[in-house]
C-alpha cells in the first residue's frame, strides 16, 4: 500500500521536530546553543506579542517590496530597450556578463558609507542583486519570440510599440515571471542580510541583537520567521505567476491539441 505523500511529509516534519526536541534534552549537544522546538515556540509566542517584532517585520517587507519593484521595473525596461535595438544587445552582452557575477555584498561598505543604516542602504543591495535575475530572464524571453509571428506582425504594418505590446511582451512574460520569482527570493535574502550586517531596522537587525544579548531561543524564533517568510514569498510568487500566465497555458494547450 502506498502511503500518500502528504502523510509522509507530515511524518518527516514531525520526526524533524522530535529530533530537535530530543537531541538537546538527551545531551549530545548543549541545550544552551541548540534550543529545542518547544522553547523556540515559546520565544516565538512572546515575539508575536511584541510591537517591536511587528515593526521590524514591516521594515523588512518595506525594503523587500520597494527594492523588488525598482529592480523588476528597471530590468524589464532595460531588457526591452536592449532587445529592441539589436546593436545594443551585442554591445552590452560582455558588460552584463561581467557585472552579473559581482557579489552584491561587495557593495556593503559603500552602502554604509553613503547611507549609513538607512533604508536606502538596504535598497542599494536589494536592487543590485535582484536586477540581474530579472534582466537575464527578459533577455532570454525576448530571444524566444517566434520569428514567424514577428514577421507577420511586421507585414501587417505594426509599429515597434505595437509589436512589443502584442508579440514580444506575451512571449517574454513567462520568462519575466520566472525572473521576478527568483528575484523575490534573492531580494528577501539581501534585505535581511543588509539588516543583519549593516544594522538597518528589520528582522535581520533583531537577529543580530538577539545574538549579541545571548537570547538564543529568540534568535531561533526570528530565524524561523525568516524561513516562513521565504516560504510564503515563494508560494505567493508561484500563485501570482499562475494567475498572470493563465492565458498562456490555455493558449499553449490549444495549439498542442
Amino acid at each position: 500500500m502506498r502511503i500518500p505523500n502528504i502523510a509522509l511529509g507530515a511524518a518527516g516534519l514531525a520526526t524533524f521536530l522530535a529530533l530537535g526536541e530530543a537531541v538537546p534534552r538527551l545531551g549530545p549537544v548543549d541545550a544552551e546553543y541548540f534550543s529545542p522546538p518547544s522553547r523556540i515556540a515559546g520565544a516565538l509566542r512572546e515575539e508575536l506579542g511584541d510591537a517591536a517584532f511587528w515593526s521590524a517585520l514591516g521594515d523588512t517587507l518595506t525594503g523587500w517590496v520597494i527594492g523588488l519593484g525598482i529592480a523588476s521595473g528597471a530590468a524589464v525596461l532595460c531588457g526591452l530597450l536592449i532587445t529592441v535595438v539589436p546593436f545594443l544587445r551585442q554591445v552590452t552582452a560582455s558588460t552584463i556578463e561581467f557585472l552579473r557575477p559581482i557579489p552584491s555584498v561587495a557593495l556593503i561598505p559603500l552602502a554604509v558609507l553613503l547611507y549609513g543604516s538607512e533604508l536606502r542602504s538596504v535598497l542599494l543591495l536589494v536592487v543590485y542583486a535582484s536586477f540581474w535575475q530579472v534582466l537575464i530572464q527578459v533577455l532570454y524571453g525576448v530571444q524566444d519570440v517566434d520569428p514567424v509571428a514577428d514577421e507577420t506582425a511586421r507585414s501587417y504594418g505594426l509599429g515597434t510599440w505595437a509589436r512589443i505590446r502584442h508579440v514580444t511582451w506575451p512571449t517574454a512574460l513567462p520568462y519575466v515571471m520566472t525572473g521576478i520569482r527568483l528575484a523575490a527570493a534573492v531580494a528577501l535574502v539581501l534585505a535581511i542580510t543588509a539588516e543583519l550586517v549593516i544594522g538597518a531596522p528589520g528582522l535581520g537587525s533583531l537577529i543580530a541583537v538577539a545574538q549579541a544579548s545571548q537570547a538564543v531561543p529568540d534568535m531561533y524564533a526570528l530565524i524561523t520567521v525568516t524561513g516562513a517568510l521565504g516560504l510564503l514569498i515563494n508560494l505567493g510568487a508561484r500563485a501570482v505567476e499562475r494567475r498572470a500566465l493563465a492565458w498562456h497555458q490555455s493558449v499553449r494547450g490549444e495549439t498542442v491539441l
Binding site: L114, I192, T193, T226
Partner: protein, 269 residues
C-alpha cells in the same frame, strides 16, 4: 585564390567585430568613470585614477597571501563540502519516492531560511574560526545542490531505468553510468547557483568576526575611512566573482560538453 582571401578577411573582420563589441562598452564605461571622477573631491567617490594607482600596492604579495588566500581556501572548502553532501544526500533522497515525500517539507523550509542568518547560529557552535566560516559557506551552498540533485535523479528516464534493470546493471554501475550522468545537467545548475551564494557567505562570514580575509579587510578600510583602499577591495571582490564564474563556465563546458552537443544536434534536426 581570391575567394580564400575574402574568406580569411571575413573571419578577421568578424573576429575584430566581436572583440570590439566585447570590449567596447566596458571601455566606454571605464572611460566615463575615469573622466567623471577625475578631480573629484568627494571623499566617498575618489578618482578612478587614484584607485587604480594604489591597487597594486594595497593588494601586494603579503596581503594576497594573508587575506585573499584564506578567503579562497575557505570558499573552496565549504563549497566542496556542500557539493559532496548535496550530491550524496540528493542522490539517496531522489532515488526513493517515499524518502522524497518524507524529507520534502523539511528541506523546503530549511532552504527558505536566508543563509546569512545562519552566521550567528553557527558562531554559537563553532566559534569564530575557520571552521565556522567553512560550515557557514557549506550550509548555504548545500541547498541548491541538494534540491537540484533530487530533481535530476527523480527525472531519470524510466525506460532507461527499466533497460538497466533488465541488463542487471545495479548499484555503483547504475549510479555511475546512468543516474549521475543523466542528472548532471541539473546538478551543475545547482552548483552554479551555489557558487554565487558561496561568495556572498564567504564575504559575510568574514564581515562578522574574523582577523583576515577580503571581507574583513574591506570593512576595516571602510571603518578607518581609507576610502580609496576600500574601493580597491570592492574591485578585487568583483574581479574574484567574475573570474570564478568564468572558471565555472569553462569547467561546465568540459564536463557537460556531451550534453550541450546533444542539445545542439537535436535542435538542428
Amino acid at each position: 585564390m581570391a575567394p580564400v582571401r575574402t574568406g580569411g578577411d571575413r573571419t578577421v573582420r568578424a573576429l575584430t567585430r566581436q572583440v570590439l563589441f566585447a570590449v567596447g562598452l566596458p571601455a566606454v564605461l571605464l572611460g566615463l568613470w575615469w573622466a567623471a571622477s577625475d578631480g573629484s573631491t568627494d571623499p566617498f567617490w575618489p578618482p578612478l585614477r587614484t584607485i587604480l594607482q594604489i591597487f597594486p600596492s594595497v593588494w601586494t604579495g603579503e596581503r594576497l597571501r594573508a587575506d585573499l588566500l584564506p578567503s579562497v581556501l575557505r570558499l573552496a572548502g565549504g563549497y566542496t563540502l556542500a557539493g559532496v553532501v548535496g550530491i550524496g544526500l540528493g542522490t539517496v533522497i531522489g532515488s526513493y519516492r517515499g524518502m522524497r515525500a518524507f524529507c520534502e517539507p523539511v528541506l523546503e523550509f530549511l532552504r527558505a531560511v536566508p543563509p546569512p542568518v545562519l552566521v550567528p547560529v553557527i558562531m554559537l557552535f563553532a566559534g569564530i574560526g575557520d571552521t565556522m566560516k567553512i560550515v557557514v559557506i557549506a550550509s548555504g551552498c548545500v541547498w541548491p545542490v541538494l534540491l537540484n540533485t533530487v530533481e535530476g535523479v527523480r527525472a531519470v528516464d524510466s525506460v532507461m531505468l527499466e533497460t538497466a534493470r533488465s541488463y542487471h546493471v545495479r548499484g555503483v554501475g547504475r549510479l555511475r553510468n546512468l543516474v549521475l550522468p543523466s542528472a548532471s545537467p541539473q546538478i551543475v545548475a545547482g552548483l552554479r547557483q551555489a557558487l554565487s551564494i558561496g561568495i556572498i557567505l564567504m564575504v559575510i562570514s568574514e564581515m562578522f568576526a574574523a582577523n583576515n580575509g577580503i571581507g574583513f579587510t574591506v570593512v576595516q578600510f571602510q571603518r578607518s575611512f581609507a576610502i580609496p583602499d576600500m574601493w580597491t577591495g570592492i574591485l578585487l571582490l568583483s574581479l574574484l566573482g567574475f573570474l570564478l564564474s568564468l572558471a565555472f563556465s569553462f569547467a561546465e563546458r568540459r564536463v557537460l560538453g556531451w550534453y550541450h552537443g546533444l542539445r545542439a544536434s537535436t535542435r538542428r534536426s
